[in-house]
Homo-oligomer: 386 residues x 2
């Protein structure tokens, strides 16, 4: 018999929670950071290196995968896990966020979104039903309701209408999930409502009444700044049931993560480790290094000699600097791997500190090393160097 | 005491030779294929994967490394082996070939070559003395004399003058080697003379009298075609001492390699495995696959399920096809690794067949799978897809 999806709390330190999500494909220790495998690959990192880094779950993008290579094709090839050689749990987003940020000629209606592919211009529909169908073709262990990511800033009225639409899409997502899903798979709702406490409260209450497997907080990390993001978390997280995992989508910097864990968040995803790696940046316990900087030109130290990650431990900064200047593949390969590993080490340290009741000490240390604020502020150059 | 450089023959099958080069950094089984690490990296392959593939020696490019990051810099950083995390033997070329093919505003004189860097336009001199000095700054285990790669086609007179210049540069290279080198390091001469038997004979005789550690055959794989290349080998190889390793520079396809081994060649280098990988091609025992071809779109087979290489064994052709179409780093990473491994498996099979006296059976099989002719004919698109 397939084991059910379940979540249990193991410890708490203030509002920070240590937990464990059980899925048919394995356990996910929380707080968890999910490396992003947009197009069925965590960019420039071999899947066994992602696993060895300690990642218990990765994220796949419904929008990208439905367009290329196609959800039905992935299903014929045995599902996303087999396709990308990842046997652990996979969470897929609903496609709602990327259809708005990447596609052209979008038309949003009550029914869903009609859009043109950013790849070949072909016309597609994405509805709550289709999103859930695609996520099940992919074989996602944790699926997300189809929602509209409300832009920031937006008026109270716009934000409320958008949140209400997401709620109706949430109801339809749940109905579709009941139709398409298999035992052991989970569906998470997404709380919207922008920076308006009463809208967040309305959204949280309505979703909670649907008794979903977990709850995400959406519409953040879209340019509002860390201070406002934390403020929204402070009044929204307490409205969510303590017995379900809580997921802050698209976040973030180490500083964002500790601040969100401090406010009760259990799950994160972000392209930052790999994107920064492609841009020549390395995350360390002492802050972020820009490996293109001439200061590294004859620095024989590795990124982090104490790391268990071969990429962080075995290559000198001088060598990585050289590889970046020479435009060699090995540079993003080393840095994306090292950063993916660092993020998992960070989560492991966070979990240990919650167990030991020392989370605040760790949070102070991380904030010192990463004084920067939000994802949007800290995303690095908009054009990749590779 | 540092062990000397030495070569011993273990077996022969016709003119094909099984041998062993001993260096202070380890044994090199011959016939050997050297993966090319142009800018201190075998492109898109981790050094431990190159080692695990079975490579006993890799090649570094003097021209590239002297320009970036600089030979003196690499020396300050502990030498090329430490810099690029490769503890096995390294052979470096002399820079002579690339200074002619890559740099701008070259002036060739008796003294050497003056040229502008293709990277920043800075003016540099490369002489036999400087080439050997650079190779010793890098710490190369096997060094190549500075030579002029005679263009093809060229007249008898041009070819003869160029060959004579290379001989004089060979004498000066040897003198510099005696000055700069350390015990255990080796210097190879390069036989020139184009497709003129008497010029090849003159070059071979003069170099042999210098009693170098090994002999390369240069000026081939420059567009002359496989038939003529084999013809030159047929009359040139017998002029070289049987007791020294023989190296065919810049070669080649599997078919080129078996044809050259058949004529007594012991060592090869070529960018083909990694360049083809970046172009979406995979080498197999049944020939080369173009992974961009739509035929692979739902092919669940790996490149080679019998390979010990994870890259060839673990990922489906459908997945690699998808990664190529999506422009993902993982495609060249998988293919460059798999091809690097295939070439080492090919050399291992060649060595086994010589030991067992079945080399001709293997050669027939390779020629069936790789009917193509020369490097130049088979180099794929001139523009990389990544």
């Amino acid at each position: 018999m397939t084991p059910d999806f379940s979540f249990r709390l193991l410890a708490a330190d203030g509002s920070a929670r240590l937990g464990e999500i059980s899925t048919p494909r394995g356990l996910i220790e929380t707080p968890a950071f999910m490396p992003v495998g947009t197009a069925a690959t965590v960019k420039a990192v071999f899947p066994n290196a992602v696993k060895a880094a300690g990642a218990g779950v990765i994220l796949g993008n419904t929008y990208h995968l439905m367009l290329r290579p196609g959800a039905e094709r992935i299903a014929r090839l045995g599902g996303l896990h087999r396709f990308m050689c990842w046997d652990g749990p996979i969470l897929t987003d609903s496609g709602g966020y990327q259809v708005m940020s990447l596609s052209q000629l979008r038309t949003v209606s009550e029914q869903g979104v009609t859009f043109r592919s950013h790849i070949d211009g072909a016309l597609h529909d994405l509805t709550p039903e289709r999103s859930i169908e695609v996520q099940n073709f992919l074989g996602a262990d944790i699926q997300m309701q189809f929602d509209e990511c409300t832009p920031f800033p937006a008026t109270f009225e716009e934000t409320g209408q958008s949140m209400q639409l997401s709620l109706r899409w949430g109801e339809r997502s749940l109905a579709a999930f009941r139709e398409y899903s298999r035992p052991g798979r989970a569906l998470f709702g997404i709380v919207q409502g922008g920076a308006y406490p009463e809208l967040r409260a309305h959204s949280a209450k309505a979703l909670t009444s649907m008794d979903l497997h977990g709850y995400a907080i959406g519409g953040l990390a879209v340019g509002e700044g860390q201070k406002l993001m934390f403020e929204v978390l402070s009044y929204t997280v307490p409205l969510l049931p303590a017995s379900k995992p809580r997921y802050l989508m698209g976040v973030g910097t180490p500083s964002d993560i500790v601040g969100a864990v401090e406010r009760g968040i259990d799950m994160f995803d972000c392209v930052m480790p790999t994107r920064s790696g492609r841009h020549g940046q390395a995350f360390t316990w002492n802050g972020k290094l820009n490996m293109r900087n001439a200061a590294h030109i004859e620095d024989m130290r590795p990124i982090d000699g104490a790391s268990e990650c071969p990429a962080a431990r075995d290559y000198s900064r001088a060598y990585i600097h050289h590889l970046l200047r020479a435009g060699e593949y090995l540079a993003p390969m080393i840095l994306s791997w090292a950063n993916t590993h660092f993020y998992q080490d960070l989560m492991s340290a966070i979990r240990r500190s919650i167990r030991e009741g020392t989370f605040e000490d760790l949070a102070v240390r991380i904030r010192e090393a990463y004084p920067s604020t939000t994802v949007a502020d800290d995303a690095g150059p908009s054009e990749p160097s590779f």
